[in-house]
């Protein structure tokens, strides 16, 4: 639907009457947003959860669609199949605001619910009921997160959801829409800022001569025209010699990237690496040539943009320890050491350059963010910001949203006799990705600190594992040891593990074949075998 952003706002969730939460363990990944979902359900809204695991939200859900990992497209196409078969689509919306609908109609014909039941494990009746409820309710919102994007077919999954939302006209007003719940605090801002090889700040085109000229004039420098590398291409570039130098800002690819052993080997070949971070981590300790001491969020001015596109101020509360500096100052100092002649004195100077260059942000200025943040698009100083997108019509050239037919692709790695279990990964409430920050919290780690994996009672007893027993998980790429946690959250054949543990990195096991378009690695589905340790 054009942009990777939530269409609607967090407070609007209170008034949702139907919520489809797919591949989002919201109470752990976005706990305070989940409070709004709990409130909506308490006020009588219908909640349907689609997730391989019995996550907390299934407790208050009307229905749990417990699909097999990686079969989202089957499920979604089958829901659309029912909608079209029963004529529940919004013909008026489709005619006035979309294009290429026929292509989707053709494809979803081949996804009847009975066959979907065999593929996904979700009963056909549940698929039908969900389709009917969703199509009938005006204030119906869809929420998704990494669960749906961390697959090799990440883009397909998002297109499927977009097709579903469009054919029922759930777009362009309050308490509805397609809501991508952003993982880390400032993923939205990171992308908005143009830290991406395929577009300039503000999602502006790298190939539009007018846009490029605008940037070149402001920057007094050429904008390179050679396409850049995505992260996965940089890592393979380390192996084949295309990448020789790295500049890392607060990142730890040796931990967070799939097939971590392969990443580590690549990092060994780097000729020169510069990093700036709060702590040393596996990547920098062994491979960095220079490490600059950086600042935490409490030590600087700036903004984070949340998942509802709201630009919120970050304010300085403390001085940094020792001679550590704000990250933006480090970048300025480094650029100047290369002779760039940058002059920024405050974070606001930087913001203003971004906002001057990016039409959808040009109305957002620091003085307007004092009381409460503003949601982009916000195109001039009188613009109040945008609570929801695509109103009164889809925000795309020509005012029409496009349907993209999507066919199911099986997950790249299927379980077999040697590696019979599907391993799915994710995050837990108590930690934050590689946990460089949260593993250092006393009190918080009391709840959870040893590496563990979730396994069903049936599988555990077949393997002779008891609660808390140490087991070895082995994939084609590596192995690790973790404690078995026996739970009904996973079904037989599925095991689940969190990303956070340095001593048992689940990314030693996962594979690194990503979505061909955006390079998002397939964290969610790998095949493993389990042995008693």
């Amino acid at each position: 639907m054009g942009r990777g952003a939530s269409t609607n706002s967090i407070p609007e969730i209170d008034d949702d009457r139907f919520l489809l939460v797919i591949g989002s363990n919201t109470t752990e990944a976005h706990p305070v947003l989940a409070l709004r979902m709990k409130k909506a359900v308490r006020n009588g809204a219908t909640l349907v959860v689609a997730d391989p695991r019995k996550i907390w939200l299934t407790k208050i859900a009307k229905r749990h669609l417990q699909l097999r990992p990686g079969t989202d497209v089957w499920l979604l196409n089958a829901i659309m199949h029912v909608i079209l078969e029963e004529g529940l689509q919004d013909e008026e919306y489709i005619r006035a605001h979309t294009e290429d609908f026929e292509a989707v109609r053709e494809i979803v014909k081949r996804y009847p619910p009975e066959q979907a039941e065999r593929m996904t494990g979700v009963p056909a009746e549940d698929i039908r009921a969900t389709a009917r409820e969703y199509a009938a309710e005006k204030y119906a919102a869809v929420f998704y997160t990494l669960g749906i994007t961390e697959h090799a077919c990440a883009v397909d999954n998002v297109w499927s959801l977009s097709n579903l939302v469009l054919m029922t006209g759930h777009l362009g007003y309050e308490s509805t829409g397609l809501n991508a719940l952003r993982g880390q605090n400032n993923v939205q801002g990171l992308n908005d800022a143009g830290a991406n090889p395929s577009y300039l700040p503000g999602y502006q085109s790298l190939t539009d001569p007018e846009v490029v000229l605008k940037f070149e004039e402001r920057w007094g420098a050429k904008v390179p025209q050679t396409p850049g590398y995505r992260l996965d291409q940089m890592i393979s570039g380390l192996h084949d010699g295309r990448i020789k130098g790295l500049y890392l800002v607060g990142e730890n690819p040796a931990h967070t990237e799939p097939n971590a052993h392969h990443v580590e080997e690549g990092l060994e070949r780097v000729e020169f690496m510069v990093a700036q971070d709060l702590f040393l981590n596996e990547t920098t300790r062994d491979h960095a040539d220079v490490v600059f001491p950086a600042s935490s969020f409490a030590e600087k001015e700036g903004t984070f943009t949340n998942t509802e596109r709201r630009v919120n101020r970050v304010r300085k509360a403390l001085d940094s320890p020792g001679s550590a500096r704000e990250d933006w100052r480090i970048v300025v100092d480094f650029a100047n050491a290369l002779g760039a002649g940058w002059w920024y004195e405050t974070a606001e100077d930087i913001w203003n350059e971004f906002a001057d260059l990016s039409p959808n942000w040009s109305g957002i200025r620091y003085d307007r963010l004092e009381e409460v943040g503003l949601q982009w698009p916000c195109t001039d100083l009188d613009h109040p910001g945008s609570r929801f997108l695509h109103a009164p019509r889809p925000d795309r050239a020509g005012g029409r949203a496009k349907f993209f037919p999507v066919e199911y692709q099986p997950p790249i790695e299927q379980p077999d006799s040697e590696f019979p279990f599907v391993l799915s990964t994710g995050r837990t409430l108590y930690h934050y990705n590689s946990a460089g920050m949260t593993m250092r919290e006393p009190g918080v780690t009391d709840k959870q600190v040893e590496p563990f994996f979730e396994i069903s009672a049936e599988d555990a007893s077949n393997l002779g594992l008891e609660e808390g027993d140490l087991a070895r998980l082995v994939s084609r790429r590596g192995e690790l040891e973790a404690e078995a946690r026996i739970t009904e959250r996973v079904y037989p054949g599925l095991v689940w593990m969190a990303l956070h543990f340095a001593q048992a990195k689940v990314n030693w096991l996962t594979h690194d074949v990503g979505d061909p378009l955006i390079g998002t690695p397939e964290y969610k589905v790998s095949a493993v075998r389990i042995e008693r340790a």
């Binding site: 947003l33 952003r182 605090n185 790295l246 500049y247 969020f297 403390l318 704000e326 409460v372």
Partner: protein, 351 residues
């Protein structure tokens, strides 16, 4: 819309609106303790009582809804009753400040000029030890208003706490005789944030004097842990230059004062001794050594320049970060594009 009178003044209200909100909007002060706009109407403590013409007894403003023609009186008998109720609460309020949180009962007593006429002989209630290192509960500060339990049931839906016992025995306890840490509690601190007396309080690290609330400097900012973007106040002790606790406020969007365990309690990493404080450069010996900024910047610039000269700008990759600010990420992509000359800028978590 309905019309009603308050102390003789005619005002308008939406039918069914809680009186306490109608009054506040019209500048009439009625104190509350057990009331919380987030929670269902409760009417437990009765310090908000007002008189309504025709009603046999004073009614709680927090649990009574506006109706056409109501004649409300907030002073006189109601005011006296409020003072008496406050005094009753004070007879059991042995500890006004277990953890340095603001105490609304003490504030109310000052406002009304109420003092405890005596201390109930059996006021002392048994505390219990708990493995929860982040939050504590002191029954001697608790007025049994049940706001905490209602929050756990209605907002967090965690079923971790309950009200146990009667009379002098009554206390808030973790459910099913477990340690608080071993209940369904997810350490969000929501029950703490709604407690009007500070009976539930943040536990501080060893040696931190708890009664220094007044000296804490609040800096409003955005939580650094997830995309919800909760608005928080870092409470900083200026003497030690440390964050002491994190609070929020019901007026803040999008979280309306709610937080999760990370936003509320995971701030100690900021002060961790492992923080890097000086630039590091890898020496001949293969180890990282502390050095000056000037030297580190020169080494870094020379190193990447040499890579660029040998292999071209395409050979250098930049990893930005979703943890950093928008402004910082903007600069990193500008560094890559405008200074080094490559579009290769990406991050580990692009989703």
């Amino acid at each position: 819309m309905v019309e009603l009178t308050v102390d003789g003044r005619t005002i308008q209200a939406t039918e069914g609106e809680l009186l306490v909100h109608v009054l506040a909007r019209n500048g009439v002060f009625v104190p509350t303790l057990c009331h919380d706009a987030k929670l269902d109407p409760y009417g437990g403590c009765r310090v908000c009582v007002v008189e309504v013409e025709g009603a046999p007894r004073p009614v709680p403003a927090c649990a009574t809804r506006a109706a056409q023609g109501m004649a409300i009186s907030t002073n006189g008998r109601a005011e006296k009753l409020r003072r008496t109720l406050t005094e009753m609460l004070l007879t059991e309020h042995l500890n006004a400040n277990p953890g340095g949180r603001p105490n609304e009962l003490v504030g109310l007593a000052e406002e009304l000029g109420a003092e405890a006429p005596f201390i109930l002989p059996d006021a002392k209630r048994e505390p219990y030890e708990d493995r929860n290192r982040l939050m504590g509960y002191d029954p001697d500060a608790c007025i049994l208003c049940n706001r905490c339990v209602r929050y756990t049931q209605e907002v967090m839906q965690c079923s971790a706490l309950s009200l146990e016992g009667r009379g002098p025995e009554a206390r808030i306890v973790p459910t099913w005789d477990r340690s608080w840490l071993d209940t369904e509690c997810e350490l969000c601190g929501g029950c703490l944030s709604v407690c009007p007396t500070g009976a539930i309080y943040e536990k501080f690290e060893e040696g931190f004097p708890a009664n220094r609330e007044v000296q804490l400097d609040k800096v409003k900012t955005t939580c650094t842990f997830c995309g919800v973007g909760c608005q928080i106040d870092l409470n900083v002790d200026r003497e030690t230059n440390r964050i002491v606790k994190v609070t929020s406020d019901p007026s803040y969007l999008p979280n309306e004062g709610d937080l999760c365990v990370k936003g509320r309690f995971a701030f100690n990493f900021v002060h961790h001794p492992d923080r890097l404080t000086e630039p590091l450069v890898r020496g001949e010996d293969g180890e990282l050594h502390e050095t000056s900024w000037e030297h580190a910047l020169a080494v870094a610039a020379k190193g990447l320049e040499e890579v660029r000269d040998r292999h071209g700008p395409q050979s250098i990759g930049f990893l930005a970060s979703a943890r950093l600010t928008m402004e910082e990420n903007f600069l990193i992509q500008k560094l890559a594009r405008a200074v080094i000359g490559t579009n290769s800028v990406h991050s580990c978590e692009a989703t």
